[in-house]
């Protein structure tokens, strides 16, 4: 359940932040929620990847629909991979690693052995 909460929280806050700020600020948001939820590396990565990937996909898909894919199909021919796939990978990887860094930085209390 916590995983779903982290995904939702990250996506919502990223959405608000990204309206105003550059793309990489989503990494800070993903990091913050990775730290807060502290789910451990694997789950945190998954949460970060899915939240940013989904958010970006949804936002881009709505633009694509509203503009009848006018630019999507052109940019598709410019890049080596489908833009949606590429975008989800790019956004997802950054979100995932940022979230993972968050949880690692916080760490598990009992794991502290120094």
């Amino acid at each position: 359940m916590k995983l779903v909460y982290q995904i939702l929280a990250t996506a919502i806050v990223c959405f608000l932040v990204q309206i105003f700020l550059p793309w990489w600020t989503m990494a800070l948001v993903a990091f913050a929620f990775g730290y807060y939820f502290n789910l451990g590396s694997g789950a945190a990565f998954l949460a970060g990847f899915v939240s940013v990937g989904l958010l970006w996909f949804a936002k881009a898909y709505s633009t694509d629909l509203a503009t009848q894919s006018i630019l999507t199909e052109k940019v598709n021919r410019l890049l080596p991979l489908n833009v949606f796939v590429m975008m989800v990978i790019v956004g997802g990887l950054v979100g995932g690693f940022a979230s993972m860094t968050g949880t690692i930085v916080k760490g598990k209390k009992q794991a502290r052995y120094y």
Binding site: W23, W24, K59, A60, K74, M86, I104
Partner: protein
């Protein structure tokens, strides 16, 4: 262990963000993927829908409010309360739709493409600088700044462009900036000057002096006159006014000294294609159905996207002009107002010379002129290169101009130096001409406007509501002695230099000729009684005759008739050459494919229509035939000029035993019959190969495969189009060049009516529905009705969006 994990994970995250926030080049440029793909700010924000409307804005620098109504084709109709705001608004809307293109073209003019594309563009950039493009623009700018009126319009236009640039955030940057990862810099009046020099380079830099010099040495004078006559004497000149030149011409003393035979081994810069030309004409009221003059213009240029033209309607008290503007330059360039209409075609004239320079020593610090050693001026050009250190190039200038080619540039083994003299290097003030034309009320105003015009030389057609039609071939033309300027010149004697220019009032022009129309299509400018020597790299031989023949026989002309003439696909060249070529073939000796081609050619009606197969076989044959005839020129190691199609066709008919018809690579001695047969077989083979590859019949438009290319050569932003026509045909649409703007204006007393179209769209954004919205209209040879109402409320019915520019003081 945990520290290591933290370090590793943070490092990966930061490295990812860093590498996705910048562009890379792995043989192919990669945009900054994170930034570019971000759906909140990246390329997605450049996608537009038909319902997106320009919003009202507050702008610093306006004196009052400006209303802009956009019609359904996204053409802006600007209503300002004074001219200051009018030019500001023109700069603003043009940048709004075309910013990237404006900057890219002026960067290209200035030799700054390496800044954007990297080291692959260094040779191009050096060429631009070595031709003196920036030098020319700076000379013009200095002249412009002396004139208060030009200064005002250039600076207000600049402020408008910059007002737009300053509203931009990353998400609203044109997509090309996002792809190539750079940002626009501020606009300056120098950039408007550079744009006009870019046009001058496209239109007026043609020359074949090196090639002709080599031909003189290799072939001798007699052959030269046969292959490259000054005047092919075909059809009517633009202005036919025998014995009507009542003035005392400027005469230079002496005769041009004979050219010293020599060979020049220079790999010259790419020249503009002979296909670049244009049509314009005006018919008097006596020939039209309405009784009012009709004026037409279609400039033929390389067809690119965003288009070279941008339609605009500019309205302020005392100002009401509409037509095609050049993004980057204020005013309408080819258009009309409520009293007159005007348009341009290129004036063919030799405006370039190469002077052979004698340097004192290797340092190139001094050169000989009239027995004295003069100091050169060395300009160090710094070329900024993306992802690399800057490239420095030293260009030596003499008083004649820059030494374009030297041992470091396109002339590796050459130890001779030539200074480049080009009329576009001289101070000039074209902008005032267009400003005055935009406001002209009658023929007298048009004449005054043109008195200020020097480069690029153009044939200016004119018609007025009051019923006048006129043509004036305006430019700054050096007075030349016979044969002067065809070859390289001796730069050590000022006797050989440009000593005088033809006075404006002695330029070729006339008004209301008896035949009831004026026309120009880049042909020979005037009759033989004109008292100045005229020469040019080439003159057009076919379009002009077809146009004049049609205009001569037409009466009760309607605007629709004029549109049909602009779209006329009759191939006069084919009609004059094909029958005699077919007669050289022996039908009994043809194979099946050749027989089929022969029949297609025989039954062809000489129209290059979309579906004509005859046209494909003809053009393919010509494409094999001419290089086979001129193999001596084609395979030459030193640059030589090509004879024109007209001369080639004439020689095939009249001189079947010309020595050039022998194919040099074979031991046999070929005659024209052998060459015709051999080239015919090869062309049929080529078409058979094409048929197999494409799996379809070789209809003309499919075989021609016209292409309209994005300026950065991005394939997904470019289009293949199905359209008839070809070079030398009135509808001059070849593979890459063609009618870049088509305009028909009916100058009726009850109100001027006009139609226009170009192959592209008003928006320069590939993500906008208006990027290519006119393309299909143009391809179908249809036009947009250009709504020309004098007040904003009258425009409401046609407007799709209303934008107000408000003053933000």
């Amino acid at each position: 262990m945990r520290i290591l994990k933290i370090v590793l994970s943070s490092f990966i995250t930061i490295a990812l963000v860093y590498s996705l926030n910048r562009s890379w080049n792995f043989g192919k440029p990669i945009p900054p993927l994170g930034k570019f793909l971000d759906p909140f700010h990246g390329f997605w924000k450049n996608a537009e829908s038909k319902n997106d409307k320009p919003a009202d804005v507050h702008l610093k620098g306006l004196t009052g409010e400006v209303s802009i109504l956009y019609d359904s084709a996204m053409i802006p109709h600007i209503y300002a309360t004074n001219e200051e705001d009018l030019f500001f608004a023109q700069g603003y809307v043009t940048a709004f739709h075309r910013l990237w293109q404006m900057e890219f073209q002026t960067h290209a003019a200035a030799g700054r493409i390496s800044e954007i594309l990297g080291s692959a563009a260094i040779d191009f950039d050096r060429g631009q600088r070595r031709l003196g493009m920036v030098y020319a623009a700076k000379n013009s700018l200095a002249e412009m700044e002396k004139d208060a009126q030009i200064n005002l319009l250039a600076s207000r236009y600049t402020e408008g462009v910059n007002a737009y640039i300053h509203t931009l955030t990353y998400d609203r940057l044109p997509i090309e900036y996002k792809l190539l990862d750079y940002a626009p810099e501020d606009w300056t009046p120098l950039k408007s000057g550079l744009l006009l020099k870019y046009m001058a380079k496209t239109l007026n830099i043609g020359d074949k002096d090196f090639e002709m010099t080599n031909a003189l040495k290799l072939f001798g004078k007699e052959t030269l006159d046969l292959l490259y006559p000054d005047n092919e004497k075909v059809g009517d000149p633009i202005v036919d006014n025998p014995n009507g030149w009542k003035f005392k011409p400027v005469a230079l003393e002496g005769v041009a000294p004979a050219t010293e035979p020599e060979l020049v081994q220079i790999n010259t810069l790419e020249k503009s294609e002979p296909d670049i030309g244009s049509n314009n004409w005006a018919v008097a009221g006596s020939k039209t159905a309405s009784g009012s003059p009709i004026l037409c213009n279609d400039p033929h240029l390389e067809l690119n996207l965003p288009s070279i033209w941008y339609i605009i309607h500019m309205n302020a008290p005392g100002y009401n002009a509409m037509g095609a503007s050049l993004p980057g330059s204020p005013c309408v360039i080819s258009g009309f107002n409520d009293s007159i209409a005007w348009g341009e075609t290129n004036a063919q004239r030799d405006l370039v010379d190469w002077f052979k320079i004698k340097f004192k020593d290797k340092s190139k610090n001094e050169y000989l002129s009239d027995g004295n050693w003069k100091k050169t001026n060395k300009v160090i050009e710094k070329i900024i290169v993306k992802n690399a250190s800057p490239y420095y190039d030293t260009v030596v200038y003499t008083h004649q101009g820059p030494i374009t080619y030297d041992e470091t540039f396109h002339a590796d083994s050459e130890k001779k130096y030539y200074a480049f003299r080009w009329v576009a290097h001289d101070p000039s003030k074209e902008l005032i001409t267009f400003y005055l034309l935009n406001k002209s009320k009658n023929h007298g105003d048009y004449m005054k406007a043109l008195d200020n015009y020097s480069s690029p030389a153009q044939n200016f057609v004119f018609a007025s509501v009051s019923g006048d039609i006129a043509m004036r071939i305006q430019g700054k033309y050096p007075v030349r002695r016979k044969d002067e300027g065809k070859f390289v010149l001796d730069g050590t004697k000022t006797f050989n230099e440009w000593q005088a220019f033809i006075p404006n009032d002695q330029n070729v022009m006339y008004k209301n000729p008896a035949r009831g129309f004026v026309s120009s299509a880049n042909q020979y400018p005037t009759d033989e009684t004109y008292p100045y020597y005229v020469t040019a790299p080439n003159f057009e031989a076919y379009r002009n005759r077809r146009i004049n023949q049609r205009l001569g026989e037409m009466s009760k002309i309607t605007p629709q008739d004029m549109m049909s003439l602009q779209a006329d696909n009759y191939n006069l060249k084919a009609s004059e050459s094909l029958p005699s070529w077919l007669a050289l073939l022996d039908p009994s000796k043809l194979n099946a494919a050749e027989k089929n081609a022969y029949e297609k050619l025989k039954s062809w009606d000489y129209f290059n229509q979309i579906n004509s197969e005859g046209a494909s076989y003809y053009e393919a044959w010509l494409h094999q035939f001419f290089p086979m005839i001129w193999d001596e020129i084609e395979n030459s190691k030193i640059p030589l000029p090509y004879p024109t199609s007209y001369t080639t066709i004439k020689l095939i008919k009249e001189k079947p035993d010309l020595r050039f018809f022998d194919i040099q690579s074979t031991p046999e001695k070929e005659t024209i019959t052998d060459v015709a047969r051999k080239s015919f077989s090869e062309s049929v083979e080529e078409i058979e190969k094409w048929k197999k590859e494409k799996g379809k019949e070789p209809t003309w438009a499919a075989y021609k495969d016209s292409y309209i290319q994005h300026l950065a050569r991005l394939e997904p932003f470019s289009y293949h189009v199905i359209h008839g026509g070809n070079g030398s045909i009135v509808n001059a649409h070849g593979k890459r060049n063609g009618p870049s703007w088509r305009m028909v204006v009916s100058l009726e007393k009850s109100g001027v009516r006009a139609w226009g179209v170009y192959p592209g769209g008003q928006s320069g954004n590939p993500g906008s529905p208006y990027y290519n919205s006119m393309l299909d209209v143009w391809t179908a040879d249809r036009y947009l009705n250009l709504h020309f109402n004098t007040t904003a409320p009258q425009m409401q019915n046609f407007s799709f969006a209303h934008q107000t520019l408000k003053s933000d003081k």
